[in-house]
């Protein structure tokens, strides 16, 4: 019997995402884990003055995606879910997802806080605030956070995993004219200057200091020529956008793509990484199966987060498709190199259960 290449736990495909291993707590774990101190400034004993949070920790900061993502509806016009699903990962990290019935790309946007300001990574697929009130949602979270931390002003920086990606740059205009706000430029040359990477793209890195939380900027072209990955040393997340996410990944330049994955792999070997957090979910919770493009109803979605060990699989697969026009199915993503975004393949990875989830009807 061939050894299975598929580990359901690794692929985040537990039978239920809300069914943890220890539903009532692990009796063998410490009552007082070291990481608890990262939360000790959240509720101050004396409710006066600015709260300064301690962002240093051994291991990833505590945090949890405890809720299922919204998944659209069979009749998109009748969907009445929130236009943006905002989830608190921890008190300094928020994950926002655009409703798939507003835009099929249903992109994820991340809002990170440090002692000196906030960082918004990506801006969604829809410019109109009436359809996609990103600015309002971000403003409200920032207001709430500033009340918790007793800040008069929270400077905001808006950056993108790709300035050219119309699934992630459309909401940028909603922040034009906002006070104490810095917007990363969309154009590649200006973006390089913005990060001071003009002479070291793509091998160099840059930093965004949020105040005791220094986000690293790692050039990762390949899915987009201006692709960037952001590394957050607080949660130990890699925010990869379109480079690697659980979905159909359109490789735009295979040489760059492999080089960027190698760079991320090296980064993962030299920095703690808890999860790789992409910009979308297109895979189903059965391995190797993706939702069709433009789908507005995805009831069987895979989890968003990718275990960092999957970077190995991505790198191996990417090397296999270099120079070939083909689609390659892996349990947690599909690589498309030099083919239509709709390309399919009848080749399914061996050792992986080939399961078809039921259709809506």
């Amino acid at each position: 019997m061939p050894q299975s290449q598929y580990d359901p736990t690794l692929s985040g495909n537990q039978q239920s995402a809300t069914s943890p291993q220890y539903p009532n707590g692990n009796p063998d774990a410490s009552y007082n884990p070291a990481t608890a101190r990262n939360t000790d400034s959240c509720v101050p004993i004396h409710n006066t003055g600015e709260v300064v949070h301690n962002y240093s920790s051994n291991g990833p900061a505590p945090g949890k995606i405890a809720f299922r993502w919204l998944y659209g509806s069979n009749v998109a016009a009748l969907n009445r879910d929130p236009r943006i699903q905002a989830v608190q990962y921890n008190e300094d990290t928020y994950i926002l997802r655009q409703n798939v019935c507003v835009h099929w790309e249903a992109p994820f946007t991340y809002l990170l806080f440090g002692n000196a300001g906030a960082l918004l990574i990506d801006s969604g697929a829809t410019p109109q605030s009436a359809y996609y009130p990103l600015r309002d949602t971000v403003d409200q979270i920032i207001t709430r956070w500033s009340q918790i931390r007793r800040r008069k002003s929270v400077p905001l920086t808006v950056v993108m995993t790709s300035g050219e990606d119309i699934a992630q740059n459309q909401g940028l205009g909603q922040f034009t004219g906002r006070t104490a706000t810095t917007l990363a430029p969309k154009a590649l040359a200006e973006m390089k200057r913005f990060y001071n990477l003009g002479n070291s793209w793509p091998s160099g890195t840059a930093r965004i200091d949020l105040g005791d939380r220094i986000v690293e900027v790692i050039p990762t072209p390949g899915a987009h020529k201006d692709g960037i990955t952001f590394y957050d040393p607080y949660n130990d997340f890699l925010h990869t956008g379109d480079l690697i996410f659980p979905g159909k990944i359109n490789i735009s330049n295979d040489t760059d793509y492999v080089a960027s994955l190698q760079r991320l792999k090296h980064w993962e070997e030299t920095h703690p990484v808890k999860w790789v957090m992409g910009g979308h979910i297109e895979m189903q919770f059965v391995p190797g199966k993706a939702y069709p493009r433009f789908a507005t109803y995805k009831p069987y979605e895979r989890l968003l987060q990718l275990e960092p060990v999957l970077l190995n699989d991505a790198l191996t697969a990417a090397r296999d498709v270099v120079g070939k026009q083909m689609a390659m199915v892996r349990p947690d993503f599909v690589l498309l190199n030099g083919v239509s975004p709709d390309q399919k393949t009848s080749v399914f990875p061996s050792g992986v259960p080939n399961i078809n989830a039921p259709r809506p009807f």
Partner: protein, 326 residues
Amino acid sequence: MVVPFASAALVTAEPGPQTATTPSAERIDFMANVPAPGAFPGKWICGSPSCMDNHDPPVQVHWYNEHTAFLRQNKAYSYEAPFMHLYFGNDRILMLDQGFTTLRTDWALRDVVDDCIGKWCLRHGRRVENMELLLAFSHLHSDHYAALNQFIDRPNTRCMGLTHEEMVGFWGMTNYPEERVALDLGGRNILIWGSPGHVISEFAYYDTSTQILYTGDMFYRGRCYISFWDKWFDSMTRLIDFADTHPVAHVVGCHVEISRTGEDYPYGVTYQPDEAPMQLTVAELRKAYEVAKTVTRPGIYFTGSVFLCNQTRGTTTSDTNPYAYS
């Protein structure tokens, strides 16, 4: 003891052939002025940038003429956005295709159709309960019959079955696909014959009143996914032969997937802001036939009005990764 079904009180004073008309209604002469004139809308509903902000009706009802209605499903209710047809005769109504929705609670195609029938009956002095409704569909794909079950409790209604046998049997055919049968709606004949190629089980329908030829998914302004090329080519030959011997006002299909500038809207999009007209001309049908004669291999062939997708997989589109760079 055997009891007669109809009691004496229910028998009309003048027994005779039962018709759908009330005493005041006159038989309509659908063939008095053929082709019966009609018009398509300049623009159909075509989705919206944000599906959940779409405020169009679930289905657009367009009366082509007094006795013919075309329905188009909203793209925000299904990306397939199929078209449906209602042909009214003196005794019967034919509905071709039943959309891409199943639940009446999602949206009630049944109620829309009942409303159309009610209005037509009111205009023409008929009783709804006397008009038989025939529900048939172009072919055996779910975006063309999904709402069938919304009608199974409707009185005086017959539904085509969901197998090839039941479909062919519904029209009483014994020699599919060559055999051409005539369905009499009451002074309005619909000619029906087989049109396999996209799928095995598909029909062409020709209305003798409007002279509209309905070609389903085997020929429409979009990506004609041809599963069986030889069978499809034979079906095209049958269509051309028919057009050689019968007047055809318009050729209409089930979908539109092309913009007015010839842009191929990718499979699954929910917004087509610059859609080309749904109807095609006989000249466009003939042009496609000429192109088809030159096709020897699988692939996508654009005829100027339709994409002939010869044995490509079902959702092939012609777009490429817009971000590719070297």
